[in-house]
Symmetry: C2
Subunit: 311 residues, 2 copies
């Protein structure tokens, strides 16, 4: 299926899960066995982080609709870490998991096109992500090159209302528009809908999505009503404070239209008991699987089960 949003809707239905598992691997939080290996040097640290991520992917695959590696944590490990990011994306693809690369890239036209090529048309031998997050501060000519390069086959999630405490400093400012005063996140959201107009798929969603934080449930529900064709990526569940009831507004009446991300709450679940004091070297992965399952069920308990997949 060559349409990103349709592919993601099918993955959500097939796994009966709206969960996105975020991979934010930090060397200091690796499980003991991998932490020891990571101390040998930068290449070993990157390899250990890669092994950690692949084990997490194996564990959460039954419970996740999609996974979201965060580029920053791989770049923090230097060039070896950046290579491992690509290994991890390939591994996820091998498990049949769609990948949203959270890189929040942005630049002017020609450079935005270079970023788009980097991720949607990478050099031979590399498998790029299914979707990428993009920052809209530069306006449409900083975003359209991603949409043009990706086509409907790849998703572009534009930051609209982010989950962090200071997101309102800029995003909540209100300015005059022909339709009356509008907050910036709404103006941007409406532009995102326009950018995606040509790529609305069979499920009614375009491949141009919006990032809207679980930490702002009211805005999430408003944006869902204003932007019925825009799929949402909803970070902020769990460690950042969002709960299942907070994200309910992100979904349509069918229970589709969004995926909800948790990173630390899943991948570091092994730091909690009973896993933390377990002798099993794979306890961290079992903990992540259990945390992903609980999150899936928590969201499903509010939203109800999904219709079975069409296939």
């Amino acid at each position: 299926m060559s349409h990103f949003a349709d592919r993601l809707s099918e993955a959500i239905r097939a796994r009966n899960s709206r969960v996105c598992v975020g991979l934010d691997p930090v060397q200091a939080h690796l499980p003991r066995a991998l932490a020891a290996a990571a101390e040998q040097g930068p290449d070993e640290a990157a390899q250990a982080v890669g092994a950690f991520c692949c084990a997490i992917l194996d564990a959460v695959a039954p419970y996740a609709a999609v996974v979201k590696p965060q580029a920053a944590y791989f770049e923090a490990l230097g060039p070896a870490g950046y290579r491992v990011l690509w290994d991890v994306m390939a591994y996820a693809h091998g498990l049949g998991l769609p990948v949203i690369l959270d890189a929040k890239r942005s630049d002017i036209g020609s450079t935005a096109a270079a970023y788009a090529a980097a991720y949607f048309d990478p050099p031979a031998g590399l498998v790029g992500p299914d979707a990428l997050t993009v920052n809209p501060y530069l306006g449409s000519d900083g975003v359209l090159p991603f949409i043009e390069a990706g086509g409907p086959a790849r998703g572009v999630y534009v930051l609209v209302k982010t989950s962090n405490p200071s997101s309102g400093e800029l995003q909540d400012l209100r300015t005059a528009t022909p339709a009356g005063p509008r907050v910036i996140y709404r103006q941007l959201g409406e532009r995102v809908a326009q950018w995606g107009e040509a790529s609305v798929g069979d499920y009614g969603y375009s491949s141009v999505g919006a990032v809207v934080g679980a930490t702002y449930p009211e805005q999430l529900a408003e944006l869902r009503a204003w932007l019925p064709t825009v799929p949402f990526l909803v970070p902020g569940y769990g460690a950042q404070g969002g709960a299942a009831a907070d994200v309910a507004g992100a979904f349509d009446s069918r229970g589709l239209g969004a995926v909800v991300n948790s990173s630390r709450g899943i991948i570091y679940a092994g730091a909690q008991e009973p896993y933390a004091s377990s002798d099993d070297p794979d306890a961290f992965a079992a903990a992540a699987a259990e945390a992903a399952r609980i999150m899936r069920d928590d969201i499903n308990s509010v939203l109800g089960l999904l219709p079975p997949p069409s296939g």
Copy 2:
């Protein structure tokens, strides 16, 4: 000298140049000999791009105050290209050229800290850039982690008024503030000044700078007047249309306070005659040197010579 803005002001005076040479290497535009090598595969392409950039750095070093690799073009070459980005930064440091890495990173607090660590505190054996460009769409908790990690020793250039045609879609919106209606780029510029208040150095500039495009000369002069302690990185000269007269407003009465970037106009000067048909395989580097010298002199002809360095 551990203060970024002071270090940059000294470099400007020592070289009598306000020129920033942007490294936006594209495989398709490599000179013939390197293009042939690049066709062997992704690793060879990255190596050829690295050789190209190092030859450009050698050539422009006498005429440039600072250099600015653009991360997108290295990422477009895959993991091998990302490694070459670090090699190129190390090579520039070896030539005594300060490096601004143009990566326009942005994310929420903890992830912004991971990006800051990636570039300001990289793994052993890597030399990070002197400064980094940062996107402010997420508000202060997406920017402060960079400023805190970099301290005054590293520069953080925040996007304020970018050089691209659509920059005004968001950046020029006007909103109410306690001081009256203000365009967003001014509000952000004033916040950049506040973020840098604690790090104003001997030259009167802080290590927290602003990106302001040469393509908007009026806004450039306004912002210089509003933000006397904020150093500017001014892209858009040359290929994007900005001329020396357009950038004059970016500087203070001493002729300090900004560096002006040109990328394609310098690094691809060899595509113009008489260099393009030269048999000399190093003609591309000679062309870049000449283009950088002409740009330096063009700007100096408008601004006048600088006072000699203090050292």
